[in-house]
């Protein structure tokens, strides 16, 4: 590999962020966080989902403006107000979700994204630059290929080339291996090493221990918006200690439900569900769930949890395997039929699946029981009954700010979730699938949701709790399994589970 023109500043601090805080809608996502990467090193930035890793790097690249804090480049305090300014300072970021125009060729994408900044005037020049830069750093790609014809790994190469052509010397990769196969990931990690060897500063955002220990020089760990471990050399690092740092001390659950498992209510055998992009979301997963128990499924988001939830309720089709609900096979049944069997669900995307923002509270509540309870004479809506039931639900679930006529979108997150709960946790409930039921909620709302789930299970229901929040899994579940790459990779009773044990399973298999 030919050395790229990078000033000889080996070992000096390339990029440093000090005392950075950032809030969204009053919620602190970065709290006095700090981070520093040196020239010539691969620096891993480790943390759970929502720890603030991507946010702090988005501050460094000018996507977000921090509320407080200082950014230093080469020791000089610098104000970066936009990604273009960041790129002028030699900072480039490869985002998790690619920003490419799929119908355009590689060269066209480069011209579009880097044209004026990198002084590229036409397509030929862009194509030549792609070829030259590609062979220089070892990322060969056909400039004339359309992005939609490229594999995910190849698209990632285009993104990296884009950043390098823009002149980045500080290269930030946001969970780059999440979308890659093992071999592709290894080759990418080798590439990052080469980049560092030519003097670049490389930041590797990740939650995989393997990448920290094997492929980076130093690690910074973030948790809950704070930096809990900064600038720690990775040689001789204890993985268990790292996992503990990342996950933190967990508070003991206040009220643990004793499992009194009854008959199996939900049985899943060898289930395989495809992802929208054709890959396998769920890959031969089996589980059994009985009344009176909460099976917690832990795991880093994106390991097939969404496809599992969609397939259980009937929104996604299984390509293989079977599902039994209350002893009846339902793998080919409609959503309505599954709901008829008492299956209920709290989806992870409250307003995309569960509720309709522009419809009233009463309409949202009635949606699942239109056929029986809320239709009267000649198929007309029983508006009076809808209103009365809504009023009752608002009182019972203490949904603040709600009236039957109010549009659901005007409710706060916690109250919208209560609205959803009051609809889904009804008298006919047999199996509840709760997918990240407290995501984005405040402490009080969390407690309420957890209480409602535990109450329904104490009353005999079965609950499948899918969550990437370990604390939630540990405090609610009677049994815990870890999901990784579409299957369950470990399962144990809740009392044998520790955050560390789960963390290691989640991160080593991820």
């Amino acid at each position: 590999m030919i050395a790229v023109a990078v000033p000889d500043r080996e070992g000096g601090v390339a990029l440093a962020l000090h005392r950075v805080s950032k809030s969204f809608d009053g919620r602190k996502v970065l709290d006095d966080a700090r981070f520093a990467v040196r020239w010539g090193e691969v620096h891993a930035l480790l943390g759970e989902n929502g720890a603030g890793k991507s946010t702090i790097m988005n501050v460094a690249t000018g996507v977000y403006i921090a509320d407080t804090g200082v950014t230093e480049i080469d020791g000089v305090a610098t104000r970066i107000a936009s990604p273009i300014e960041a790129s002028r300072h030699g900072i480039g970021m490869v985002h998790q979700h690619f920003r490419l125009v799929n119908r355009f060729t590689v060269a066209e994408n480069i011209l579009l994204a880097a044209g004026p900044e990198a002084g590229i005037r036409n397509l030929d020049q862009a194509a030549r630059l792609v070829a030259a830069k590609g062979s220089e750093v070892g990322l060969g790609i056909d400039p004339a290929a359309r992005v939609c014809d490229l594999s995910v790994a190849e698209r990632q190469r285009v993104e990296i080339l884009k950043v390098l052509i823009l002149g980045a010397r500080i290269v930030i990769l946001d969970e780059p291996t999440a979308v890659l196969s093992d071999q592709e990931a290894t080759s990418l990690l080798r590439f990052t090493r080469g980049l560092a060897d030519t003097g670049h500063a490389v930041v590797l955002i990740t939650h995989k221990l393997r990448e920290v220990v094997g492929h980076s020089d130093r690690v910074t760990v973030m948790r809950g918006g704070r930096t809990v471990l900064a600038d720690c050399p990775t040689t001789g690092l204890d993985e268990a200690e790292l996992a503990r740092q990342m996950i933190g001390e967990r508070v003991a659950p206040l009220r643990h439900l004793e499992a009194h498992p009854g008959a199996p209510r939900l049985v899943v055998r060898d289930l395989t569900v495809a992802r929208a992009d054709g890959g396998k979301g769920v890959d031969g997963l089996s589980l059994e769930l009985r009344g009176g128990e909460i099976l917690g499924i832990a795991g880093v988001g994106g390991n097939g949890q969404q496809q599992l939830a969609d397939c259980l309720i009937g929104l996604a089709t299984a390509s293989r395997g079977e599902i039994q609900l209350m002893g009846r096979p339902v793998v080919a049944a409609s959503v309505a039929a599954r709901r008829g069997g008492g299956l209920r669900m709290i989806p992870s995307d409250r307003f995309a699946s569960g509720l309709i923002g522009d419809m009233s509270v009463a309409e949202n509540l009635a949606m699942t029981h239109l056929a029986g309870r809320y239709s009267r004479w000649k198929g007309f809506l029983a508006r009076g009954r809808m209103r009365r039931d809504a009023r009752a639900a608002i009182t019972t679930f203490n949904i603040a700010g709600a009236t039957p006529e109010r549009r659901a979108r005007l409710l706060s997150g916690g109250n919208a979730q209560k609205l959803l709960l009051s609809r889904e946790v009804d008298s006919e409930l047999t199996v509840l699938v709760a997918h990240s039921p407290t995501r984005g909620l405040d402490v009080k709302a969390c407690q309420f949701v957890h209480g409602a789930i535990q109450d329904s299970v104490a009353a005999g229901a079965a609950c499948l709790l899918i969550s990437d929040d370990l604390e939630e899994i540990l405090s609610l579940s009677t049994r815990i399994a870890v999901m990784s790459r579409g299957r369950l990779v470990g399962e144990f009773p809740a009392r044998e589970a520790t955050a560390e044990k789960l963390g290691l399973l989640m991160m080593n298999h991820a």
């Binding site: 996507v63 936009s82 959503v335 949606m367």
Partner: protein
């Protein structure tokens, strides 16, 4: 400098204000076009939009023109609310005319009490059948109904041409591409003698009222609206999305077919190659101008009907081509879509701040 920024949620004011602003802008620009064509703009606009109403039987003429527009527009409103984009109402209108008209031509001497209701029923079924094809392609193969319904319109048009130049051609028609005139028993009843105001003119507002009830008060209407607004949430709640797509397509196709048979059995009186001046397409504008509300479609249908009358008047009184109707309708749709931006966005004056703007673009 101005900036367009998203509102928190849709503005109710602009949802109704947008069509009014669009109509005002359309009249303004139409006036400018009239001026460019050498007309006195105010006189021309008066001739185009007001004079037709003041003529003898002007309101009757308006009602006759509005009936098919309203009927089709009501169906399309329901359909678009379901997020199903039936653009081929013109074809469904034609199929309705062919199916009902075929009965009239085959049994011209059948008793009136059987023949006319039979024609209406066949008209509805014909329209439904033509809408069922895109519905099937959409639900079975996920084919885009905008394209399939639009293309089926051409097929329907060619089928009509084939019939009136071939098997159904009037032997006593001097070679013109038209069928025989329908018998008196196969004619849409006139409800206001001497004006030509026919059954369809009464049926259109009645159907609009029924559609409003269905959409706003019935379980079916509720389901259609939910599927239209949030298809994923509808599936999640257990609605059968495919069945609702079918329902929306069949309702809009059936109403377009009904409008078709009423038109050929009424004002037209026979099957010809020119049974519609583009009612099926103008009804798309009717639906949007009426805010996808069946009652709104009644008012919007009247305005679009007026643009047809105005086109005739402009041709006769000012010597302008009657393409002004199409121009007026086109400009109206253009401004309507443009003004609808105000429902979800507001236009804000900002001091120039390059850094912020760049971030906005990069995002």
């Amino acid at each position: 400098m101005f900036r367009i920024e998203p509102r928190g949620y849709p503005s109710r004011f602009w949802s109704l204000g947008s069509p009014i602003l669009a109509i005002a802008l359309t009249i303004l620009v139409t006036g400018v076009i009239f001026a460019a064509m050498g007309q006195e703009p105010l006189v021309a606009v008066y001739t185009f939009l007001i004079a037709p109403l003041l003529e003898h039987n002007g309101l009757a003429a308006l009602a006759i023109r509005a009936a098919p527009l309203i009927m089709i527009g009501v169906g399309l409103s329901l359909c678009y609310r379901t997020n199903v984009w039936n653009i081929g109402a013109e074809g469904q209108f034609t199929l309705g005319a062919i199916s009902g008209g075929g009965l009239a031509l085959t049994f011209p001497d059948a008793p009136a009490e059987l023949l006319f209701p039979g024609m209406l029923a066949l008209g509805v079924i014909g329209g439904m059948f033509w809408a069922a094809i895109p519905a099937w392609l959409r639900t079975r193969y996920n084919a885009n109904e905008i394209l399939t319904s639009l293309m089926l319109h051409y097929i329907a048009g060619l089928l009509l041409v084939y019939l009136v130049t071939g098997p159904w051609k009037d032997p006593h028609g001097f070679g013109f591409p038209q069928s025989a005139l329908f018998s008196s028993t196969a004619t849409t009843p006139i409800i206001v003698p001497g004006t030509g105001v026919h059954l369809g003119c009464a049926l259109a507002p009645l159907l609009a009222a029924i559609a409003w009830l269905v959409l706003n008060k019935s379980v079916l209407g509720f389901k259609l609206r939910v599927v239209g607004q949030a298809p994923r949430a509808a599936r999640f709640a257990g609605f059968n999305e495919d069945r609702l797509i079918w329902t929306a397509m069949l309702i809009s196709g059936g109403l377009a077919g009904l409008a078709g048979i009423l038109e050929v059995a009424g004002p037209v009186g026979q099957l010809t190659t020119t049974i519609s001046p583009g009612y099926g397409f103008s009804a798309v504008i009717v639906a949007f101008l009426g805010r996808l509300d069946p009652i709104g479609a009644v008012f919007a249908g009247l305005l679009l009907a007026l643009s047809y009358l105005g086109g005739d008047a402009a041709q006769i009184d000012l010597g302008l081509p009657n393409a002004v109707t199409g121009i007026f309708q086109g400009i109206l749709l253009f401004f309507l879509l443009g003004c609808d931006l105000l429902i979800r966005y507001r236009i804000k004056r900002v001091r120039p701040n390059p850094a912020v703007t760049l971030t906005g673009i990069a995002e």
